[in-house]
Symmetry: C2
Subunit: 355 residues, 2 copies
């Protein structure tokens, strides 16, 4: 606390990201990083960009990256905004489009939403998800408040269909619908094709999960040009060049490598099924996931107990001290070898505690 802080600062409740241990001996399944390393094409792009040109400022409009996204998503470049991870994209979005306004989200979703609401004085309503963590779209329809949805949702992994999103966007065309597709690429439908017909829809993406580039901090938004221009105006009033030259080069190469995305996504989905089936076989409920993680609860063991037992055996997963989900664990989909190791350890834990 300093006498120089503006009043608001003491009251902020910053987001706390998952632990990033420096030890390599851990099996790290706590922050939904991709199981695979980035594409070789990305590493090649980085090698060729890591030279003398770094003395120059990067392109403030990231035009090569936006062109790559334009081609991959079949949307014009003026419908694309890029930023330092989808977190920065969403922060600017909360400022430009939600500051001081009423906003709906879910009671079980990405923990950064209430933080941005607090930073930018939005009035947040958290609508409860159903008992099985699914979302009843009918209860969300026809409201005047803007709505922010993670799809697939985190930490549940459950996804709405494109038709669900269309229903929301159509239910009130003066209502802004924000769809956070950070977990795009692992099976869920994207809302991007709806943008051409919906000027009240904005979709955000991250390269952290789908493209195995959490280390490079690149995200983007897709919407009609006037919404994108609002984001650009805030960004250009904040920091002209949030994406460094290497992040731009890596992200453009990653987006262009559609074959890598397809193969990597298939591999994640295969491991996800093995993990889910293996856990179900020893008494876990596992929600159907369309993300690169699963959300799971054991029928008789407490979440805290399993979390600690895994940690003692060098496996790190994520858990929240939040009443509704305190018994649940979010486990990232690792490699097949990590999934098998997880299952071996889980069987030991379950038989030791229940047997």
């Amino acid at each position: 606390m300093s006498r120089f802080w503006i009043d608001k600062i003491s009251g902020l409740k910053p987001y706390v990201p998952g632990e990033q241990p420096t030890s390599d001996s851990l099996i790290k399944l706590n922050t939904n990083e991709h199981a695979l390393p980035p594409a070789e094409s990305v590493l090649a792009a980085l090698r060729s960009a890591s030279g003398e040109a770094l003395r120059r400022y990067p392109d403030p409009t990231a035009s090569a990256l936006r062109s790559a996204i334009s081609a991959a998503e079949s949307v014009p470049p003026d419908q694309i905004f890029v930023g330092n991870g989808s977190d920065e994209v969403l922060a600017h979005l909360w400022f430009a489009l939600l500051k001081g306004r009423r906003v709906q989200t879910l009671d079980t979703t990405y923990g950064f939403y209430p933080v941005w609401a607090g930073l930018y004085d939005a009035v947040l309503t958290e609508v409860p998800v159903l008992e099985d963590f699914s979302v009843d779209v009918d209860t969300l329809k026809n409201d005047d408040a803007a709505i922010v949805l993670a799809n697939p949702n985190a930490p549940t992994g459950r996804a709405l269909t494109r038709d669900d999103i269309a229903l929301l966007a159509d239910s009130n065309s003066d209502r802004l619908v924000v769809v956070d597709e950070a977990y795009f690429g692992f099976g869920a439908e994207t809302a991007v094709p709806l943008i051409a017909d919906h000027d009240n829809l904005i979709v955000t993406r991250s390269l952290s999960k789908s493209h195995a580039l959490a280390g490079m901090r690149v995200g983007y938004a897709i919407a009609q040009p006037d919404l994108i221009e609002g984001l650009i105006r805030v960004k250009d009033s904040f920091n002209s060049y949030p994406l460094d030259a290497l992040a731009q080069a890596a992200a453009a190469a990653a987006i262009q490598d559609t074959q890598w995305l397809e193969n990597a996504s298939r591999e994640v989905r295969e491991v996800r099924e093995v993990m889910s089936a293996g856990l179900r076989a020893i008494g876990f409920e596992v929600l159907p996931s369309q993300a690169n993680f699963i959300f799971t609860e054991h029928q008789s063991l407490a979440g805290r107990q399993i979390f600690d037992a895994l940690r003692a055996r060098d496996i790190l997963v994520r858990r929240w001290d939040k009443e509704r989900i305190e018994n649940w664990l979010r486990i990232s989909v690792g490699t097949m070898a990590q999934a098998e190791q997880l299952l071996v350890v889980m069987r030991e834990i379950v038989s030791a505690e229940t047997g």
Copy 2:
């Protein structure tokens, strides 16, 4: 304009950075990039960091980078805040410490200050610099408003001494003094040693100029821990990881390579003297600069005319349509070869127009 923009967005006047032409045939002296490429130690650090680990999130606290800064600046790590360029550091600083408050700056200084003031509703007073673009510290003393100074100042290149800064900070200990040392490393005194005794002082730095890393977007702030904590609270409510893994690795290597900084700084100062002397010899007034650029006006030719003539000969410099400085050019210090080429062309322009 979109019906979804909050009211403020239409009124923002975003910062416009200097042009970043893609052509390599230009001599680019318009955005104060370093004349030299980054240190070989930086490129080596990038090569070793550009691998599979990029699938992982970077360290949200950038602890290795902050340790490197701590060693180089002789301040504890809890007095260091890092961000995506000093622009992001300053943006968070305007939010955490200046939002809604009265702030003094100069009428001729970095053009981003009024933009942040507008974004964060600060009430800005622009104090005129003297006729020769120097600053009368006495006129700035004893005010209650916070003060933000670029030192050396841009676009003038003139610097205040450490004693000047101490005088300001001592004149009212309840007044926040922000010293933006983006152009540190080219001869000016730093205010960092004053921080131990001044809890109302905060110094920001950039690696874009001094360390030839404009392409990597790294900056930092140094202040006593309670001011730093205010910045951390805003950053962690905005974007947990604004520095990607490669930016952290490059910046840490750059900061550690103190020998490179010393040599590169000497080379810039040598070229700066050659440029300045050569221009003075053909009728230019050149302000004494402690930055990696000079600010200059010709005794008989208009700034616009020289700017256009240089542009026609593939030399890009910076100029503003702002009454007080409309006749002045800001010219980055390039390599010795670029300086010689600039002088050849300037002599042609001056003799064609005045002869």
